[in-house]
Protein backbone atom coordinates (compact mmCIF):
# COMPACT_ATOMS: atom_id res chain seq x y z
CA UNK A 1 0.00 0.00 0.00
CA UNK A 2 1.40 3.42 -0.89
CA UNK A 3 2.10 6.08 1.70
CA UNK A 4 -0.60 8.30 0.17
CA UNK A 5 -3.20 5.65 1.00
CA UNK A 6 -1.89 3.99 4.15
CA UNK A 7 -1.14 7.03 6.34
CA UNK A 8 -4.43 8.84 5.55
CA UNK A 9 -6.22 5.52 6.21
CA UNK A 10 -4.60 5.31 9.66
CA UNK A 11 -5.48 8.96 10.36
CA UNK A 12 -9.06 8.24 9.30
CA UNK A 13 -9.14 5.20 11.61
CA UNK A 14 -7.96 7.38 14.53
CA UNK A 15 -10.66 9.93 13.63
CA UNK A 16 -13.30 7.20 13.64
CA UNK A 17 -12.11 5.95 17.05
CA UNK A 18 -12.27 9.55 18.34
CA UNK A 19 -15.75 10.08 16.90
CA UNK A 20 -16.89 6.81 18.52
CA UNK A 21 -15.54 8.09 21.85
CA UNK A 22 -17.42 11.38 21.45
CA UNK A 23 -20.67 9.89 20.15
CA UNK A 24 -21.09 6.25 21.17
CA UNK A 25 -19.01 5.44 24.21
CA UNK A 26 -15.62 5.45 25.85
CA UNK A 27 -14.99 1.68 25.92
CA UNK A 28 -15.44 1.06 22.13
CA UNK A 29 -13.15 4.02 21.50
CA UNK A 30 -10.44 2.60 23.80
CA UNK A 31 -10.80 -0.79 22.09
CA UNK A 32 -10.43 0.84 18.66
CA UNK A 33 -7.32 2.72 19.75
CA UNK A 34 -5.89 -0.47 21.33
CA UNK A 35 -6.33 -2.38 18.05
CA UNK A 36 -4.75 0.52 16.14
CA UNK A 37 -1.72 0.57 18.47
CA UNK A 38 -1.18 -3.18 17.97
CA UNK A 39 -1.44 -2.88 14.16
CA UNK A 40 0.79 0.20 13.94
CA UNK A 41 3.57 -1.18 16.14
CA UNK A 42 3.47 -4.63 14.43
CA UNK A 43 3.67 -3.05 10.98
CA UNK A 44 6.61 -0.94 12.12
CA UNK A 45 8.56 -4.06 13.13
CA UNK A 46 7.48 -6.45 10.38
CA UNK A 47 7.62 -4.27 7.25
CA UNK A 48 10.05 -1.95 5.54
CA UNK A 49 7.52 0.40 3.95
CA UNK A 50 8.73 3.95 3.18
CA UNK A 51 6.28 5.54 5.62
CA UNK A 52 7.45 3.19 8.41
CA UNK A 53 8.78 5.95 10.68
CA UNK A 54 5.35 7.60 10.95
CA UNK A 55 3.80 4.45 12.44
CA UNK A 56 5.14 4.58 16.05
CA UNK A 57 4.21 8.27 16.25
CA UNK A 58 0.63 7.50 15.15
CA UNK A 59 0.63 4.77 17.81
CA UNK A 60 1.55 7.39 20.44
CA UNK A 61 -1.39 9.54 19.32
CA UNK A 62 -3.71 6.58 19.90
CA UNK A 63 -1.94 5.89 23.19
CA UNK A 64 -2.62 9.51 24.21
CA UNK A 65 -6.34 8.85 23.98
CA UNK A 66 -6.14 5.53 25.88
CA UNK A 67 -4.15 7.28 28.62
CA UNK A 68 -6.55 10.22 28.78
CA UNK A 69 -9.57 7.87 28.95
CA UNK A 70 -8.07 5.71 31.68
CA UNK A 71 -5.55 7.67 33.77
CA UNK A 72 -7.72 10.51 35.20
CA UNK A 73 -9.79 9.42 38.18
CA UNK A 74 -12.38 11.20 40.27
CA UNK A 75 -10.28 10.95 43.47
CA UNK A 76 -7.66 13.32 42.02
CA UNK A 77 -8.37 17.06 41.47
CA UNK A 78 -9.05 18.06 37.85
CA UNK A 79 -5.85 19.98 37.25
CA UNK A 80 -3.69 16.93 38.15
CA UNK A 81 -5.33 14.88 35.39
CA UNK A 82 -2.97 16.61 32.98
CA UNK A 83 -0.02 15.21 34.96
CA UNK A 84 -1.52 11.70 34.98
CA UNK A 85 -1.89 11.78 31.19
CA UNK A 86 1.05 13.99 30.27
CA UNK A 87 3.79 12.24 32.26
CA UNK A 88 3.36 8.75 30.68
CA UNK A 89 2.94 10.45 27.32
CA UNK A 90 6.25 12.27 27.71
CA UNK A 91 7.90 8.91 28.53
CA UNK A 92 6.36 7.44 25.35
CA UNK A 93 7.66 10.41 23.33
CA UNK A 94 11.16 9.97 24.78
CA UNK A 95 11.14 6.22 23.93
CA UNK A 96 9.99 6.97 20.36
CA UNK A 97 12.67 9.62 19.92
CA UNK A 98 15.23 7.01 21.01
CA UNK A 99 13.71 4.33 18.72
CA UNK A 100 13.69 6.59 15.65
CA UNK A 101 17.15 7.92 16.50
CA UNK A 102 16.22 11.60 16.54
CA UNK A 103 18.13 14.32 18.32
CA UNK A 104 16.15 16.76 20.46
CA UNK A 105 17.39 19.62 18.28
CA UNK A 106 15.81 17.93 15.24
CA UNK A 107 12.47 18.08 17.05
CA UNK A 108 12.74 21.83 17.45
CA UNK A 109 14.11 21.97 21.00
CA UNK A 110 16.79 24.44 20.09
CA UNK A 111 17.41 28.08 20.83
CA UNK A 112 16.62 30.23 17.86
CA UNK A 113 16.38 34.01 17.52
CA UNK A 114 14.35 35.39 20.45
CA UNK A 115 12.19 37.90 18.64
CA UNK A 116 10.25 35.52 16.33
CA UNK A 117 9.71 33.12 19.22
CA UNK A 118 8.36 35.92 21.42
CA UNK A 119 6.06 37.08 18.62
CA UNK A 120 4.71 33.55 18.18
CA UNK A 121 4.31 33.20 21.96
CA UNK A 122 2.43 36.50 22.22
CA UNK A 123 -0.11 35.26 19.68
CA UNK A 124 -1.33 32.90 22.43
CA UNK A 125 -3.02 35.73 24.35
CA UNK A 126 -5.61 36.78 21.71
CA UNK A 127 -5.96 33.18 20.55
CA UNK A 128 -6.87 32.07 24.07
CA UNK A 129 -9.70 34.63 24.13
CA UNK A 130 -10.91 33.43 20.73
CA UNK A 131 -10.77 29.81 21.90
CA UNK A 132 -12.67 30.67 25.08
CA UNK A 133 -15.40 32.55 23.22
CA UNK A 134 -15.84 29.64 20.82
CA UNK A 135 -15.99 26.89 23.44
CA UNK A 136 -16.91 28.58 26.76
CA UNK A 137 -15.40 25.77 28.91
CA UNK A 138 -16.24 25.44 32.57
CA UNK A 139 -13.55 26.63 35.04
CA UNK A 140 -11.73 24.02 37.14
CA UNK A 141 -12.42 25.62 40.50
CA UNK A 142 -14.97 28.21 41.48
CA UNK A 143 -12.37 30.72 42.66
CA UNK A 144 -8.84 29.28 42.92
CA UNK A 145 -6.29 30.81 45.26
CA UNK A 146 -2.85 32.00 44.16
CA UNK A 147 -1.26 28.68 45.14
CA UNK A 148 -3.69 26.68 42.98
CA UNK A 149 -3.20 29.10 40.09
CA UNK A 150 0.62 28.85 40.34
CA UNK A 151 0.54 25.03 40.40
CA UNK A 152 -2.01 25.02 37.58
CA UNK A 153 0.11 27.34 35.42
CA UNK A 154 3.19 25.12 35.85
CA UNK A 155 1.18 21.97 35.06
CA UNK A 156 -0.41 23.50 31.95
CA UNK A 157 2.97 24.81 30.80
CA UNK A 158 4.68 21.43 31.06
CA UNK A 159 1.94 18.85 30.51
CA UNK A 160 -0.23 20.70 27.99
CA UNK A 161 1.90 23.24 26.13
CA UNK A 162 5.16 21.32 26.05
CA UNK A 163 3.77 17.76 25.85
CA UNK A 164 1.29 18.42 23.04
CA UNK A 165 3.71 20.54 21.02
CA UNK A 166 6.62 18.09 21.31
CA UNK A 167 4.25 15.35 20.14
CA UNK A 168 2.42 17.13 17.31
CA UNK A 169 4.85 19.81 16.10
CA UNK A 170 8.11 18.22 17.21
CA UNK A 171 7.74 14.51 16.53
CA UNK A 172 4.71 14.03 14.26
CA UNK A 173 5.37 17.03 12.01
CA UNK A 174 9.03 16.05 11.68
CA UNK A 175 8.36 12.45 10.57
CA UNK A 176 5.39 13.49 8.42
CA UNK A 177 7.58 16.06 6.66
CA UNK A 178 10.22 13.36 6.11
CA UNK A 179 7.62 11.21 4.37
CA UNK A 180 5.31 13.72 2.66
CA UNK A 181 7.44 16.85 2.32
CA UNK A 182 5.60 20.12 2.95
CA UNK A 183 2.25 18.31 3.20
CA UNK A 184 3.51 16.90 6.51
CA UNK A 185 2.43 20.13 8.26
CA UNK A 186 -1.12 19.52 7.01
CA UNK A 187 -0.98 15.93 8.23
CA UNK A 188 0.09 16.88 11.78
CA UNK A 189 -2.46 19.74 11.94
CA UNK A 190 -5.24 17.40 10.83
CA UNK A 191 -4.37 14.85 13.48
CA UNK A 192 -4.07 17.62 16.07
CA UNK A 193 -7.62 18.75 15.22
CA UNK A 194 -8.90 15.15 15.24
CA UNK A 195 -7.75 14.78 18.85
CA UNK A 196 -10.14 17.62 19.77
CA UNK A 197 -13.24 15.87 18.41
CA UNK A 198 -14.13 15.20 22.05
CA UNK A 199 -14.81 18.91 22.55
CA UNK A 200 -18.06 18.35 20.54
CA UNK A 201 -17.94 21.79 18.93
CA UNK A 202 -17.49 22.16 15.15
CA UNK A 203 -16.38 25.80 15.43
CA UNK A 204 -13.81 24.96 18.07
CA UNK A 205 -12.57 22.02 15.98
CA UNK A 206 -12.11 24.35 13.03
CA UNK A 207 -10.33 26.83 15.27
CA UNK A 208 -7.98 24.05 16.43
CA UNK A 209 -7.29 22.93 12.84
CA UNK A 210 -6.35 26.50 11.83
CA UNK A 211 -4.34 26.86 15.04
CA UNK A 212 -2.49 23.63 14.19
CA UNK A 213 -1.66 24.94 10.72
CA UNK A 214 -0.45 28.24 12.18
CA UNK A 215 1.68 26.52 14.83
CA UNK A 216 3.05 24.08 12.25
CA UNK A 217 3.98 26.92 9.93
CA UNK A 218 5.64 28.86 12.78
CA UNK A 219 7.61 25.79 13.92
CA UNK A 220 8.82 24.97 10.40
CA UNK A 221 9.73 28.60 9.64
CA UNK A 222 11.61 29.28 12.90
CA UNK A 223 13.04 25.75 13.30
CA UNK A 224 12.16 25.85 17.00
CA UNK A 225 9.02 24.89 18.92
CA UNK A 226 9.60 27.05 22.02
CA UNK A 227 7.43 29.87 20.67
CA UNK A 228 4.49 27.57 19.94
CA UNK A 229 4.96 25.79 23.30
CA UNK A 230 4.51 29.15 25.05
CA UNK A 231 1.60 30.17 22.81
CA UNK A 232 -0.17 26.85 23.41
CA UNK A 233 0.44 27.18 27.17
CA UNK A 234 -0.96 30.74 27.16
CA UNK A 235 -4.07 29.49 25.37
CA UNK A 236 -4.59 26.73 27.95
CA UNK A 237 -3.87 29.06 30.88
CA UNK A 238 -6.14 31.78 29.52
CA UNK A 239 -9.01 29.37 28.86
CA UNK A 240 -8.62 27.78 32.31
CA UNK A 241 -7.65 30.52 34.74
CA UNK A 242 -8.27 33.92 33.11
CA UNK A 243 -11.22 34.21 30.74
CA UNK A 244 -13.80 32.15 32.73
CA UNK A 245 -13.41 34.57 35.67
CA UNK A 246 -13.34 37.68 33.48
CA UNK A 247 -16.44 36.38 31.69
CA UNK A 248 -18.32 35.99 34.98
CA UNK A 249 -18.07 39.73 35.63
CA UNK A 250 -19.20 40.87 32.16
CA UNK A 251 -22.51 41.35 30.38
CA UNK A 252 -23.44 37.84 29.16
CA UNK A 253 -25.58 39.11 26.28
CA UNK A 254 -22.67 41.05 24.81
CA UNK A 255 -20.30 38.08 25.26
CA UNK A 256 -22.78 35.79 23.48
CA UNK A 257 -22.98 38.26 20.55
CA UNK A 258 -19.18 38.46 20.29
CA UNK A 259 -18.98 34.66 20.44
CA UNK A 260 -21.54 34.26 17.62
CA UNK A 261 -19.75 36.90 15.49
CA UNK A 262 -16.46 35.10 16.03
CA UNK A 263 -17.95 31.79 14.90
CA UNK A 264 -19.29 33.40 11.72
CA UNK A 265 -15.96 35.09 11.16
CA UNK A 266 -14.13 31.79 11.53
CA UNK A 267 -16.28 30.02 8.95
CA UNK A 268 -15.95 33.03 6.62
CA UNK A 269 -12.18 32.79 7.03
CA UNK A 270 -12.33 29.15 5.98
CA UNK A 271 -14.43 29.97 2.90
CA UNK A 272 -11.95 32.71 1.91
CA UNK A 273 -9.04 30.33 2.54
CA UNK A 274 -10.56 27.60 0.37
CA UNK A 275 -11.26 30.18 -2.36
CA UNK A 276 -7.65 31.38 -2.29
CA UNK A 277 -6.37 27.80 -2.45
CA UNK A 278 -8.65 27.12 -5.44
CA UNK A 279 -7.40 30.27 -7.17
CA UNK A 280 -3.80 29.28 -6.54
CA UNK A 281 -4.51 25.81 -7.94
CA UNK A 282 -6.02 27.29 -11.10
CA UNK A 283 -3.09 29.65 -11.48
CA UNK A 284 -0.69 26.74 -11.03
CA UNK A 285 -2.49 24.56 -13.60
CA UNK A 286 -2.40 27.49 -16.07
CA UNK A 287 1.35 27.81 -15.56
CA UNK A 288 1.81 24.08 -16.12
CA UNK A 289 -0.02 24.36 -19.43
CA UNK A 290 2.17 27.30 -20.50
CA UNK A 291 5.26 25.30 -19.52
CA UNK A 292 4.15 22.50 -21.85
CA UNK A 293 3.89 25.02 -24.71
CA UNK A 294 7.40 26.37 -23.98
CA UNK A 295 8.91 22.90 -23.80
CA UNK A 296 7.33 21.72 -27.08
CA UNK A 297 10.30 22.68 -29.37
CA UNK A 298 12.77 21.07 -26.96
CA UNK A 299 10.77 17.85 -26.97
CA UNK A 300 10.60 17.98 -30.77
CA UNK A 301 14.38 18.29 -30.96
CA UNK A 302 14.88 15.50 -28.43
CA UNK A 303 12.67 13.16 -30.50
CA UNK A 304 14.62 14.14 -33.59
CA UNK A 305 17.92 12.89 -32.12
CA UNK A 306 16.65 9.42 -31.30
CA UNK A 307 18.98 6.84 -33.02
CA UNK A 308 16.12 4.79 -34.49
CA UNK A 309 14.79 7.85 -36.26
CA UNK A 310 18.10 9.00 -37.71
CA UNK A 311 17.57 7.24 -41.07
CA UNK A 312 14.54 9.30 -42.11
CA UNK A 313 15.71 12.51 -40.47
CA UNK A 314 14.66 14.85 -43.23
CA UNK A 315 11.10 13.48 -43.13
CA UNK A 316 11.02 13.83 -39.35
CA UNK A 317 12.25 17.41 -39.51
CA UNK A 318 9.54 18.26 -41.97
CA UNK A 319 6.95 16.58 -39.74
CA UNK A 320 8.07 18.50 -36.64
CA UNK A 321 8.06 21.77 -38.56
CA UNK A 322 4.48 21.09 -39.59
CA UNK A 323 3.60 20.18 -36.01
CA UNK A 324 5.10 23.43 -34.71
CA UNK A 325 3.23 25.46 -37.31
CA UNK A 326 0.00 23.73 -36.27
CA UNK A 327 0.67 24.61 -32.65
CA UNK A 328 1.33 28.22 -33.58
CA UNK A 329 -1.91 28.42 -35.54
CA UNK A 330 -3.97 26.92 -32.71
CA UNK A 331 -5.88 29.37 -30.47
CA UNK A 332 -3.73 30.20 -27.42
CA UNK A 333 -4.61 27.74 -24.60
CA UNK A 334 -4.00 30.18 -21.70
CA UNK A 335 -6.19 32.89 -23.14
CA UNK A 336 -8.88 30.30 -23.94
CA UNK A 337 -8.84 29.14 -20.30
CA UNK A 338 -8.95 32.69 -18.99
CA UNK A 339 -11.88 33.59 -21.24
CA UNK A 340 -13.86 30.57 -20.05
CA UNK A 341 -13.12 31.39 -16.42
CA UNK A 342 -13.99 35.03 -16.91
CA UNK A 343 -17.33 34.09 -18.48
CA UNK A 344 -18.02 31.62 -15.66
CA UNK A 345 -17.28 34.14 -12.94
CA UNK A 346 -19.07 36.97 -14.75
CA UNK A 347 -16.03 39.28 -14.81
CA UNK A 348 -16.40 42.75 -16.32
CA UNK A 349 -15.54 43.00 -20.01
CA UNK A 350 -12.55 45.32 -19.31
CA UNK A 351 -10.89 42.69 -17.17
CA UNK A 352 -11.68 40.08 -19.81
CA UNK A 353 -10.08 42.25 -22.52
CA UNK A 354 -7.09 42.93 -20.31
CA UNK A 355 -6.65 39.21 -19.69
CA UNK A 356 -6.93 38.54 -23.43
CA UNK A 357 -4.34 41.25 -24.21
CA UNK A 358 -1.96 39.81 -21.64
CA UNK A 359 -2.60 36.33 -23.02
CA UNK A 360 -1.97 37.49 -26.60
CA UNK A 361 1.30 39.16 -25.58
CA UNK A 362 2.30 36.05 -23.73
CA UNK A 363 1.56 33.88 -26.75
CA UNK A 364 3.59 36.25 -29.00
CA UNK A 365 6.54 35.89 -26.65
CA UNK A 366 6.14 32.14 -26.72
CA UNK A 367 6.00 32.15 -30.52
CA UNK A 368 9.20 34.20 -30.73
CA UNK A 369 10.87 31.86 -28.30
CA UNK A 370 9.67 28.87 -30.27
CA UNK A 371 11.08 30.34 -33.53
CA UNK A 372 14.40 31.01 -31.89
CA UNK A 373 14.49 27.44 -30.64
CA UNK A 374 13.65 26.24 -34.16
CA UNK A 375 16.50 28.28 -35.73
CA UNK A 376 18.93 27.06 -33.13
CA UNK A 377 18.07 23.41 -33.66
CA UNK A 378 18.08 23.80 -37.47
CA UNK A 379 21.65 25.11 -37.28
CA UNK A 380 22.55 22.21 -35.04
CA UNK A 381 21.05 19.76 -37.56
CA UNK A 382 22.96 21.29 -40.50
CA UNK A 383 26.23 21.00 -38.58
CA UNK A 384 25.46 17.37 -37.80
CA UNK A 385 24.69 16.64 -41.49
CA UNK A 386 28.06 18.13 -42.52
CA UNK A 387 29.82 16.01 -39.95
CA UNK A 388 28.07 12.90 -41.27
CA UNK A 389 29.11 13.71 -44.91
CA UNK A 390 32.74 14.17 -43.83
CA UNK A 391 32.71 10.90 -41.94
CA UNK A 392 31.22 9.09 -44.98
CA UNK A 393 34.07 10.35 -47.20
CA UNK A 394 36.63 9.17 -44.71
CA UNK A 395 34.93 5.81 -44.58
CA UNK A 396 35.11 5.43 -48.39
CA UNK A 397 38.87 6.22 -48.42
CA UNK A 398 39.47 3.73 -45.64
CA UNK A 399 37.50 1.05 -47.51
CA UNK A 400 39.59 1.62 -50.69
CA UNK A 401 42.82 1.30 -48.72
CA UNK A 402 41.54 -1.88 -47.16
CA UNK A 403 40.81 -3.40 -50.63
CA UNK A 404 44.34 -2.56 -51.90
CA UNK A 405 45.95 -4.12 -48.86
CA UNK A 406 43.82 -7.22 -49.25
CA UNK A 407 44.96 -7.64 -52.91
CA UNK A 408 48.61 -7.28 -51.90
CA UNK A 409 48.10 -9.85 -49.22
CA UNK A 410 46.69 -12.37 -51.74
CA UNK A 411 49.62 -11.79 -54.11
CA UNK A 412 52.12 -12.42 -51.34
CA UNK A 413 50.30 -15.62 -50.40
CA UNK A 414 50.48 -16.91 -53.99
CA UNK A 415 54.25 -16.12 -54.26
CA UNK A 416 55.04 -17.86 -51.01
CA UNK A 417 53.09 -20.96 -52.15
CA UNK A 418 55.13 -21.21 -55.40
CA UNK A 419 58.38 -20.81 -53.43
CA UNK A 420 57.38 -23.64 -51.11
CA UNK A 421 56.58 -25.95 -54.07
CA UNK A 422 60.00 -25.23 -55.73
CA UNK A 423 61.86 -25.87 -52.52
CA UNK A 424 60.04 -29.17 -52.01
CA UNK A 425 61.03 -30.35 -55.58
CA UNK A 426 64.65 -29.34 -55.07
CA UNK A 427 64.76 -31.16 -51.76
CA UNK A 428 63.40 -34.38 -53.33
CA UNK A 429 65.96 -34.20 -56.17
CA UNK A 430 68.77 -33.68 -53.71
CA UNK A 431 67.77 -36.70 -51.62
CA UNK A 432 67.56 -38.89 -54.76
CA UNK A 433 71.03 -37.71 -55.83
CA UNK A 434 72.45 -38.58 -52.42
CA UNK A 435 71.01 -42.11 -52.54
CA UNK A 436 72.49 -42.71 -56.01
CA UNK A 437 75.93 -41.51 -54.85
CA UNK A 438 75.86 -43.85 -51.82
CA UNK A 439 74.92 -46.86 -54.02
CA UNK A 440 77.82 -46.17 -56.38
CA UNK A 441 80.20 -45.86 -53.46
CA UNK A 442 79.07 -49.27 -52.06
CA UNK A 443 79.45 -50.97 -55.48
CA UNK A 444 83.02 -49.74 -55.93
CA UNK A 445 83.99 -51.10 -52.51
CA UNK A 446 82.63 -54.64 -53.06
CA UNK A 447 85.10 -55.95 -55.91
CA UNK A 448 88.12 -54.78 -53.90
CA UNK A 449 87.09 -56.92 -50.90
CA UNK A 450 86.52 -60.15 -53.10
CA UNK A 451 90.14 -60.09 -54.79
CA UNK A 452 92.28 -60.20 -51.62
CA UNK A 453 93.86 -63.57 -50.39
Amino acid sequence: MSKRVAVPAYIAAIAVAEAVGAGIGVVPSILGHAVLISILLSQYVLTQVPYRRVLPVLAIVSLLRILSFTAPIAQVPDIYWYVLVGLPLLVAVALTVSLLDFSWAQLGLRRGPWMPQLLVASSGLPLSLAGFLLLRPRPFASMPGWREVAIGVVILLIFVGFTEEILFRGLLQHVATEVFGRTGVLCSSLLFAIMYIGSRSASYLLFIALLGLFFGWCASRTGSIWGVVLAHSFIAIGMTFVWPFVDAGLNQGMIAQISAALQWGLWLLVVIGVGLLLLRYLQHSGRAQARRVVLAPILVARDHYRPADSLNRSNQLEYHRQERDTMDNEPPPQSKLDSVEARQHGMPSEIEQLIERIGARYIDDLRTLSEQFGRFYDAQLTAKDEQIADLSQRLEVAERQRDTLEAQHQELKRTSASYVANLRTMSEELSRHLEYTEDEHDASKAPNQGGSP
Binding site: A34, F69, T70, P72, A74, D78, Y82, V91, L95, A236
Partner: protein, 82 residues
Amino acid sequence: MTALVTDVIARAIASNTVDSLSTARSVVLILLLLGLLVLKELARAAGGPRSTAWTDTLNIAIVPLLLVFGFFVAINFLDLLS
Protein backbone atom coordinates in the same frame (compact mmCIF):
# COMPACT_ATOMS: atom_id res chain seq x y z
CA MET B 1 -9.93 22.10 27.02
CA THR B 2 -6.94 20.34 25.52
CA ALA B 3 -6.23 17.19 23.51
CA LEU B 4 -5.19 15.49 26.73
CA VAL B 5 -8.44 16.03 28.63
CA THR B 6 -11.48 16.75 26.46
CA ASP B 7 -15.08 17.37 27.40
CA VAL B 8 -15.96 13.71 26.75
CA ILE B 9 -13.27 12.56 29.20
CA ALA B 10 -14.37 14.99 31.92
CA ARG B 11 -17.99 13.78 31.61
CA ALA B 12 -16.97 10.11 31.54
CA ILE B 13 -14.98 10.51 34.75
CA ALA B 14 -17.70 12.54 36.42
CA SER B 15 -20.28 9.84 35.61
CA ASN B 16 -18.15 7.04 37.12
CA THR B 17 -18.93 6.19 40.68
CA VAL B 18 -17.07 2.87 40.68
CA ASP B 19 -13.50 2.40 41.84
CA SER B 20 -10.81 3.13 39.23
CA LEU B 21 -9.40 -0.36 38.57
CA SER B 22 -12.74 -2.09 38.15
CA THR B 23 -14.27 0.20 35.53
CA ALA B 24 -14.64 -1.17 32.02
CA ARG B 25 -12.16 1.34 30.58
CA SER B 26 -9.53 0.26 33.10
CA VAL B 27 -10.15 -3.40 32.32
CA VAL B 28 -9.45 -2.64 28.64
CA LEU B 29 -6.27 -0.86 29.69
CA ILE B 30 -5.11 -3.87 31.73
CA LEU B 31 -5.98 -6.30 28.93
CA LEU B 32 -4.03 -4.20 26.43
CA LEU B 33 -1.07 -4.07 28.80
CA LEU B 34 -1.20 -7.85 29.34
CA GLY B 35 -1.44 -8.49 25.59
CA LEU B 36 1.54 -6.28 24.86
CA LEU B 37 3.59 -7.90 27.66
CA VAL B 38 2.78 -11.41 26.35
CA LEU B 39 3.75 -10.34 22.82
CA LYS B 40 7.02 -8.91 24.11
CA GLU B 41 7.88 -12.11 25.99
CA LEU B 42 7.03 -14.26 22.96
CA ALA B 43 9.26 -12.10 20.76
CA ARG B 44 12.07 -12.32 23.30
CA ALA B 45 11.70 -16.12 23.57
CA ALA B 46 11.71 -16.53 19.79
CA GLY B 47 15.04 -14.69 19.59
CA GLY B 48 16.49 -13.70 16.24
CA PRO B 49 17.42 -10.29 14.86
CA ARG B 50 13.89 -8.92 15.19
CA SER B 51 13.65 -9.69 18.91
CA THR B 52 15.31 -6.40 19.95
CA ALA B 53 13.21 -4.43 17.46
CA TRP B 54 10.01 -5.94 18.91
CA THR B 55 11.12 -5.16 22.48
CA ASP B 56 12.08 -1.54 21.75
CA THR B 57 8.92 -0.89 19.76
CA LEU B 58 6.50 -2.46 22.23
CA ASN B 59 8.15 -0.56 25.11
CA ILE B 60 6.71 2.65 23.61
CA ALA B 61 3.25 1.48 24.70
CA ILE B 62 4.15 -0.80 27.60
CA VAL B 63 6.12 1.66 29.76
CA PRO B 64 3.45 4.45 29.82
CA LEU B 65 0.68 1.90 30.46
CA LEU B 66 2.74 0.36 33.29
CA LEU B 67 3.13 3.84 34.84
CA VAL B 68 -0.65 4.33 34.80
CA PHE B 69 -1.22 0.82 36.15
CA GLY B 70 1.32 1.46 38.94
CA PHE B 71 -0.51 4.67 39.81
CA PHE B 72 -3.85 2.80 40.04
CA VAL B 73 -2.31 0.14 42.29
CA ALA B 74 -0.76 2.82 44.52
CA ILE B 75 -4.09 4.66 44.84
CA ASN B 76 -5.92 1.43 45.76
CA PHE B 77 -3.19 0.47 48.21
CA LEU B 78 -3.43 3.88 49.91
CA ASP B 79 -7.23 3.48 50.06
CA LEU B 80 -6.78 0.11 51.77
CA LEU B 81 -4.32 1.58 54.29
CA SER B 82 -6.58 4.48 55.13
